[in-house]
Symmetry: C2
Subunit: 168 residues, 2 copies
DNA sequence: CCGCTATATATAACATGTTATATAACATTC
DNA sequence: GAATGTTATATAACATGTTATATATAGCGG
């Protein structure tokens, strides 16, 4: 078995490590989403959630809300448009800005997700790292070990009422 | 100003958030590397560090050591080969395995990096989040705020002897 | 009103991760 | 020792982020 250098090097490789854990966690989250039979990618959800929370937003506002660059937002919104979850129309006062809103189908998806998938994911992630404390490198190690020991989807089984509301 | 939904949604969006912070941090790290005039990508360093620590490794071992998939390792090693930092030769006992070792140029780069760039990066990242403690979501918020307040490169100025050794 | 600058979005090119699969070398079994 | 399965690496196709740049609309100064 080979040493995990990224873990060993600590702060020096924190960037790689955060990305690596994020990718692993996102893949695990995708499993939970797929299990629910919703045809959507984990990375598309924050866009829908942003519009659900704030009402119609422009491409630029969405990029800001989700924390990626504008071209990335343009692409993801294009996908959601293709899937029929959002609708786009120019802002009445400024033809450059394009307002993205949820379609009925999109709103239904959000409402359904709020009631089922999102609480499940949030609870599973909270189960994974909710009680952690201490220096960040130790917490990251615990998260990696925790995921290896019991993947997210095995933590997401709903055994009672959802443990967490949608957000905060 | 638009609400940061990924931050607001907490555990539900932890995966996106880790990736996002990792990407930001890696871009910042790249600035420090570029400032030092070394023609290398931040993501390539862990491969060199792994070989430096463990001696020649196969592609598969490198993938494991760095925590990515084998095709990703194949690609990065191809780049490092192109750049002249590593050398590849088939394992004597098993023609399928390809042993990757540091060239003289690669070893020089590692030695130089160990003495200058790596301590600087590690110190800057430690400055950013070394004293943090508490729940992970709060630490991530502090890291994001910290990066926005003072980017990594402005934390990497060497004002005295390096605060941290390469690794531990 | 015209021309210049600024802003919003789209597009192109690239970086770097993934999964799925092809290929070649090794190992095993009858 | 030939057939079959396994393992190591390469390659293809795709996902999703980035930076750089093009284009269209808005806003402004003369």
């Amino acid at each position: 078995m080979v040493e995990d250098v990224v873990r060993t090097l600590g702060f020096l490789c924190l960037a790689s490590r955060l990305r690596r854990i994020g990718e692993r966690l996102q893949a695990d989250t995708q499993q939970v989403i797929d299990e629910a039979g919703v045809g959507i990618q984990a990375g598309q959800y924050p866009f829908l959630a942003a519009i659900d929370r704030a009402g119609p937003l422009t491409i630029g506002e969405l990029a800001q809300a989700v924390g990626i660059t504008q071209p990335g937002a343009t692409r993801t919104i294009g996908q959601l448009l293709e899937l029929g979850f959002v609708d786009i129309q120019p802002a009445p006062d400024d033809q450059r800005r394009r307002l993205v809103s949820l379609t009925d189908k999109g709103q239904e998806l959000v409402d359904h997700s709020k009631a089922t998938i999102w609480p499940r994911v949030a609870a599973a992630v909270a189960d994974l790292c909710g009680d952690l404390d201490g220096p960040i490198l130790e917490q990251l190690a615990a998260i990696e070990d925790g995921l290896a020991a019991l993947p997210l989807i095995r933590r997401s089984t709903v055994t009672g009422p959802p443990a967490l509301s949608t957000a905060q």
